[in-house]
């Protein structure tokens, strides 16, 4: 209830500030709003939040360019040259396959598995664990898919764009290991999320609602009006996906509920159980072609509920097929509760686990001005004084993905195309595209900071610095020259910790380095302790 009162307040505030939108046409202020941070500190802060941490020397480059100018460039990713990443992407076989290819591979693997099962029943000596070549190929592509996310996050120059891809992937989370999502999720990333990550929320919402990956994950593809019957034999049609299944005979509320609760209004967004049911009815017929036909989105008129529906007090006259759903999604995308819910999530991601009200207000106001243009909402957040306030600097603990990618970037390490680095992220608690529940990975530190996970981070740091972390090549020579203890500590502090190394950390490093005579070992130890230590866990 409280939230609703708050966003009602914003409507008024937004209306009173008609000039607020004009400032974006004007030249950007060169100084950081608030202005309490030094240019170097503000560059470090921006690189920690808008990017996956700085690479060696990047803090200085951003500070020299002017952090607000750098932010402005990041907000227009198309203008940033990203040839190096494009070159790396060519090494990923998965990007050369469209959904049809992957669907064909998936159904072939399923068929092979069924045949093996039959064969296994007669030949008890068959090795159950040995996979067919086609299954192996599928597994390799799946590994590539998770690794691609890590490689892009580490190497792209369009850092804010990659951060937003991760944000939306989490906001519209699907579970890769659920049946057909094994071949639908790569397409979901490439063609649903990535092209719209910096665009209008409404476009993204509609694209997600029509994405086979989401329709499958939250079961909407088989939600049908009670009593509706397909104009063809159903059992033949339903092969694939999770095998032969009985004909659906009614609505399934799963997607409808999460659409309201997670994707748009938020749990306190003021909807009722009857709203959930009517949303599900409106979306009956939003389904998927069978895999053999490519598994694309398909509106199945026969399954659509033609009755009248009411959602949030708005009447939806029956008989308008797919248009009802589009109208519903537009209604949800522009609803004040949605603006508040998503803006709050963005501020939680970029500013503080407990997002400051002022920042959320600014984001909501920008949302209203720009009709939900992600770039403008982000711009408002990065111009909010709260983003730069001292209490929000280093106030967030890195997620496992952020920790691993920032460590790779800090050491200028080169990830390979194997799934091994993505497995490191998984071991730390964040297997990509494998969050079972539709709420996505949490943004709060309490979810990530615990004794076991911290020890794992320390182990990863030590392995990375020693050149033993699977999936990456690290050459410390290029960033930290061999030297005596004080030199090493100085360089590590500057290049890896952005100058935030505490006195205690310096003392511990000094003591440890005093007991290490071999210079390569000393350097690896200094880097490993810095990355595994407490300062590097924060951003």
């Amino acid at each position: 209830m409280k939230n609703r009162l708050v966003w009602r307040g914003f409507v008024v505030v937004g209306a009173c500030l008609p000039l607020a939108g004009a400032q974006h046409g004007a030249p950007l202020p060169s100084a950081v709003p608030g202005g309490a941070l030094t240019p170097r500190d503000s560059a470090f802060h921006a690189l920690n939040r808008l990017a996956y941490g700085p690479r060696p020397g990047e803090v200085q480059r951003v500070a020299a360019e002017g952090v607000m100018r750098w932010i402005d460039r990041q907000l227009s990713p198309d203008g940033i040259d990203d040839r190096r990443l494009a070159q790396r992407e060519r090494q990923f076989e998965i990007l050369q396959h469209d959904r049809g290819d992957l669907a064909a591979l998936y159904t072939a693997a399923q068929r092979a598995r069924r045949e093996r099962k039959l064969a296994g029943a007669t030949d008890t000596m068959a090795d159950k664990d040995a996979a067919t070549p086609i299954a192996q190929r599928g597994r390799r592509l799946a590994g590539e898919f998770a690794d691609l996310a890590v490689v892009r996050a580490a190497l792209s120059e369009r850092q804010l764009y990659e951060v937003m891809v991760d944000f939306w992937t989490n906001h519209f989370s699907v579970y890769f290991a659920k049946g057909a999502d094994r071949f639908l999720t790569p397409d979901y990333l490439e063609h649903t999320i990535r092209p719209r990550a910096m665009g209008k929320f409404e476009d993204l919402l509609i694209a997600v609602a029509q994405s086979p990956a989401m329709l499958f994950y939250l079961d909407n593809w088989q939600s049908v009006a009670p009593g509706a019957a397909p104009p063809f034999p159903f059992s033949a049609r339903q092969r694939g996906g999770q095998g032969v299944r009985p004909r659906p005979t009614g609505i399934n509320e799963n997607y409808a509920r999460e659409l309201l609760e997670l994707h748009t209004l938020g749990v306190e967004g003021g909807y009722t159980q009857q709203d959930v049911i009517d949303v599900a009815r409106i979306l009956t017929g939003w389904s998927i072609e069978r895999p053999q036909q490519g598994g694309d989105f398909e509106f199945q008129g026969w399954a659509h509920d033609r009755g009248e529906k009411h959602v949030l007090g708005v009447r939806f006259e029956g008989g308008h097929d797919m248009d009802e759903g589009i109208r519903l999604l537009r209604l949800l995308a522009g609803h004040p509760a949605t603006m508040h819910h998503v803006s709050r999530e963005l501020c939680q991601r970029f500013v503080n686990d407990d997002p400051p009200d002022g920042c959320v207000d600014d984001a909501v106001a920008a949302w209203k001005r720009s009709s939900g243009d992600t770039r403008e909402v982000l711009r408002a957040i990065f111009h909010a004084p709260e983003f730069w306030a001292a209490e929000n600097v280093r106030a967030k603990v890195k997620t496992p993905l952020e920790f691993v990618v920032s460590a790779v970037r800090a050491t200028a390490a080169e990830p390979d195309t194997s799934p091994r680095l993505a497995r490191v992220v998984a071991r730390l608690g964040e297997p990509l595209y494998l969050h079972v529940a539709p709420d996505g990975y949490p943004e709060r530190e309490a979810a990530w900071v615990n004794s076991g996970a911290l020890l794992d981070r320390m182990n990863v740091a030590v392995a990375l610095a020693a050149g033993n972390l699977p999936g990456v090549t690290v050459v410390l020579d290029s960033i930290v020259a061999l030297g005596d203890a004080d030199q090493l500590i100085g360089v590590v502090n500057e290049k890896i910790l952005g100058g935030t190394m505490s006195e205690n950390t310096k003392q511990v490093l000094r003591r440890q380095l005093a007991g290490t005579s071999e210079p390569m070992q000393a350097r690896a130890l200094a880097v490993g302790l810095a990355i595994g230590g407490p300062e590097f866990q924060r951003q």
């Binding site: 399934n252 530190e445 996970a453």
Partner: protein
């Protein structure tokens, strides 16, 4: 603010910080300096969270009610397959491994148990189940953690409250120390030589003791204390007793490690693990199928755990919990949607076994919650409060379940008097 443990110890605990706020890490620091009290009480509570909302009606089947069969033409467990318990309820056949425990009166089920809050959102309902405050989102800690906060008699060890998994669950979040262990054997710094391992451990311990703030400080301290203890335990050598056969997979591994910690006498009092795969919207199955597979694993894990612990089960209670139940009527996809009340199991020596507890509201549409779901007749807090009070000896239930008046008259009777 940076607080070194050493400085903190010297300045005498909480007194220094008694003014104003009592943030999580400061309050936790207070535990580090509390002297160990009496020897470890051996009574233990193990909680298994069936995350995703288990279908209580297909776990503890009301096979004596024709409405059950009428509402579930495709997914009801056929009468001939149900393992009858009392003429009306029966076990799902894939829980057969639990039938001997039922007959030995160490296993009970509570039916129609759940939250007084009406939400059908997994996330809200899990949140309320774990915070122990249905309807209140702002509760910062979980009820198992609050139990640990308020029972300060208990010996303080890093292993008192342990969650098995990569993340600390909400139910154990809070100011009392608690550990998350994903793999007992791999817990700690990894280095080929023991000397290098010890040195790295010490170095990181000093880094975090001196420079970490907030949760990073408390979690790292708990980690290093546990590392020291486990070093002596050598978990790689563990072999289950009595040929206990744990199922492969996460649940079996977690139950094996819980048994191992219990037998190691490290002061474990509260253990927690997640079991997923219960959100059966589609093709739930009946005697066989998705849900049957999950129940089979659960039954096998509980049976193996009981065998492995043998005599020690005298002091142990295992509780299964889930955020809500599922619709009485099957949906259009041979599955079930989010419902209201569910069933929970209690197993162990102290359990008042061999009966289905709680008041059964019936399946008639008029008796259902909102006409579709099993109504809640036992507030889950009544069950949890009974386990804490009668099994673990908690005294101040009002502090553990704020806003709730625990009344032993309403306890479902899960623990033998």
């Amino acid at each position: 603010m940076t607080i070194s443990r050493r400085v903190f110890v010297k300045s005498g605990g909480l007194a220094l910080f008694s003014v104003g706020l009592d943030p999580l890490f400061l309050a936790r620091a207070a535990f580090a300096v509390r002297p160990a009290a009496r020897p470890a009480d051996r009574r233990i509570l193990v909680c298994l969270f069936q995350r995703g909302a288990v279908d209580g009606l297909n776990m503890i089947v009301p096979h004596g009610d024709p409405i059950y069969y009428r509402e579930r033409p495709r997914i009801a467990v056929p009468e001939k397959d149900v393992l009858d318990l009392d003429g009306y309820f029966g076990l799902h056949p894939r829980l057969a491994a639990l039938k001997p425990l039922w007959d030995a009166k160490t296993l009970s089920a509570i039916h129609a148990v759940g939250s007084p809050d009406a939400t059908r959102s997994h996330f809200d309902a899990q949140d309320y189940l774990e915070s122990g405050t249905p309807g209140v989102k702002a509760t910062p800690d979980g009820w198992l953690n609050r139990y640990c906060q308020h029972d300060r008699e208990h010996q303080d060890t890093p292993f008192r409250a342990v969650a098995f998994g990569p993340q600390l669950p909400r139910i154990l979040a809070g100011t009392a120390p608690s550990l998350a262990i994903d793999d007992l054997q791999a817990f700690g710094m990894r280095a080929p030589q023991p000397a290098a391992r010890d040195r790295l451990t010490r170095a990181f311990e000093e880094l975090y003791a001196g420079s970490a703030t907030g949760l990073l400080a408390t979690s790292s301290r708990e980690a290093f204390e546990a590392v020291q203890t486990l070093k002596r335990l050598d978990p790689g050598q563990y072999r289950p007793a009595n040929d206990a056969d744990y199922p492969r997979g996460k649940l079996g591994k977690a139950m094996l490690e819980i048994a191992q910690l219990i037998k190691a006498d490290l002061g474990l009092q509260v253990a927690f693990a997640d079991v997923t795969g219960w959100d059966t919207h589609v093709n739930q199955g009946a005697t066989e199928g998705q849900l049957a597979g999950r129940l089979g694993e659960l039954g096998q894990a509980l049976a193996a755990f009981t065998r492995d612990l043998g005599e020690r089960m005298r002091d142990v209670v295992v509780l299964t919990l889930s955020e809500f139940g599922r619709t009485v009527r099957e949906n259009g996809n041979s599955g079930t949607d989010h419902g209201h009340a569910t069933a929970m199991l209690v197993l162990g020596g102290p359990v008042n076994g061999g009966r289905v507890l709680g008041k059964w509201p019936g399946l008639d549409p008029a008796q259902r919650f909102e006409g579709r779901d099993v109504a809640v007749t036992t507030d889950f807090r009544d069950l949890f409060a009974e386990l804490l009070a009668r099994h673990l000896g908690a005294r101040d239930l009002s502090a553990i379940f704020p806003g709730f008046v625990a009344d032993s008259e309403r306890f479902p009777g899960a623990i033998r008097g």
